[in-house]
């Protein structure tokens, strides 16, 4: 019985990984939470936005606490850039054309329901074994 369940899980994992390998890697390594997904979509749709953590949280309809770590990690992963304006820390979309192109492809692919199902699977799955994903349980939003 256990063997059968394992086989089914393997099959699911294989089916869910059936996507462009670059997008799969982008998803698993950079967009590994639903809040990040919301944030990168926002920056993709509004690419010349540059603002503080508090204002970006407001634009995304989230609290600063929820967004703070996600923004930091997106900066660490090269999706966003951090700069200073006076004493304020400002976040904006990276100018790296490779990442921008990956992001464009990811957002366009997200319009497809099947891709979204797979992406949600990887985000939920990634959150279990990933210390970065541990926060997921606190603000899961599968409305994607």
């Amino acid at each position: 019985m256990e063997e059968r369940t394992k086989r089914e899980l393997d099959l699911t994992a294989r089916l869910m990984s059936d996507m462009d390998p670059q997008l799969l890697e982008f998803l698993q390594t950079k967009i590994n939470s639903f809040v990040k997904w919301d944030l990168v979509r926002f920056f993709h749709d509004n690419p010349h936005t540059a603002d503080t953590l508090e204002n970006i949280a407001r634009y995304a309809g989230r609290s600063s606490e929820v967004v703070r770590h996600e923004l930091k990690e997106l900066v660490e992963d090269g999706v966003l850039e951090e700069s200073q304006a006076g004493s304020m820390t400002i976040y904006s979309l990276t100018s790296d054309p490779h990442i921008r192109e990956l992001l464009r492809r990811f957002i366009e692919a997200s319009d497809d329901r099947q891709f979204r199902v797979k992406a949600i699977y990887h985000i939920v799955r990634g959150s279990r074994g990933n210390p970065r994903g541990a926060r997921l349980k606190n603000h899961t939003n599968t409305d994607h």
């Binding site: 509004n46 010349h48 603002d51 503080t52 204002n55 304006a85 006076g86 400002i90």
Partner: protein, 253 residues
């Protein structure tokens, strides 16, 4: 004298050719009167007809909204961004102010990157929350406008007016004195129908049309039409026929 054309039929005639270069031009009106449309048309015309790239600096509306609204008029702002002729920048007043004060800041870089000559700031009303007095708002706005002029831009600033009809209800905070031209958009009720009126209240360094003109937002953008004739009290929002006023004043005594 060189002019910066808005491309809005009728308005350039009222401005005797357009705005003066590197000036700050205030467009004030109630919600829905067409302030943002006027500003977008100014930016669009600069790109299409004058080879003058532009920037839209928004403090509240998402850039997505501008792309969508512009496309309703047949203006492809996203394509213009891809061609490095336009940037729709979303930020907050405090960040924009700090950014412009900083040498080599983000906005300055964007301006130089695309060679921008025009900017729409939508809306300057958001600066009011950064100041707690008329004096500090005026200083803040003065410094912000000067920073944009320093970059060689001709500026359109929008300002929200909460009063739909009648006299303005928000107090003047000094901005009208700082800007080089001042255009007011108003709703006017005539025989149970809402019309829109436009007046150029001020234009520093140039003569201008003093008439109150009707305007409409068409599928091609704003079109300024003929003056309101035979009526008075247009800017009150509830004009009267001049004949009625005459009768009231002299006949029914």
């Amino acid at each position: 004298m060189e002019r910066v054309k808005t491309g809005i039929p009728g308005l350039d005639e009222m401005l005797h050719g357009g705005f003066l270069p590197q000036t700050a031009n205030l467009v004030e009106g109630a919600p829905g009167t067409g302030k943002t449309t006027l500003g977008m048309q100014f930016i669009y015309h600069g790109i299409i007809a004058c080879e003058e790239p532009g920037i839209i600096l928004t403090f509240e509306e998402f850039p997505q909204q501008y792309y969508r609204d512009a496309s309703n008029f047949g203006w492809d702002f996203q394509q213009m961004e891809r061609e490095d002729k336009l940037r729709v920048v979303m930020s907050s007043p405090e960040v924009s102010k700090a950014d412009l004060e900083h040498v080599g800041g983000r906005i300055e870089r964007l301006i130089r990157e695309i060679g921008a000559r025009r900017i729409l700031v939508d809306s300057i009303s958001h600066f009011e929350r950064l100041s707690n007095s008329r004096t500090s708002f005026r200083e803040l706005a003065f410094s912000f406008i000067n920073a944009l002029k320093r970059e060689g831009l001709t500026i359109v600033l929008t300002r929200e007016q909460p009063a739909l009809l009648g006299e303005r209800i928000s107090p003047e905070n000094g901005l009208a004195f700082l800007v080089d031209s001042y255009i007011l958009l108003r709703y006017v009720e005539i025989e149970s129908t809402m019309h829109k009126a436009l007046i150029v209240l001020k234009m520093r360094g140039s003569d201008h049309d003093k008439g109150i003109r009707q305007f409409e937002i068409t599928s091609r953008g704003i079109e300024v039409r003929a003056p309101f004739e035979g009526r008075e009290g247009i800017m009150s929002g509830s004009p009267r026929r001049m004949m009625d006023s005459f009768v009231q004043a002299f006949v029914r005594r």
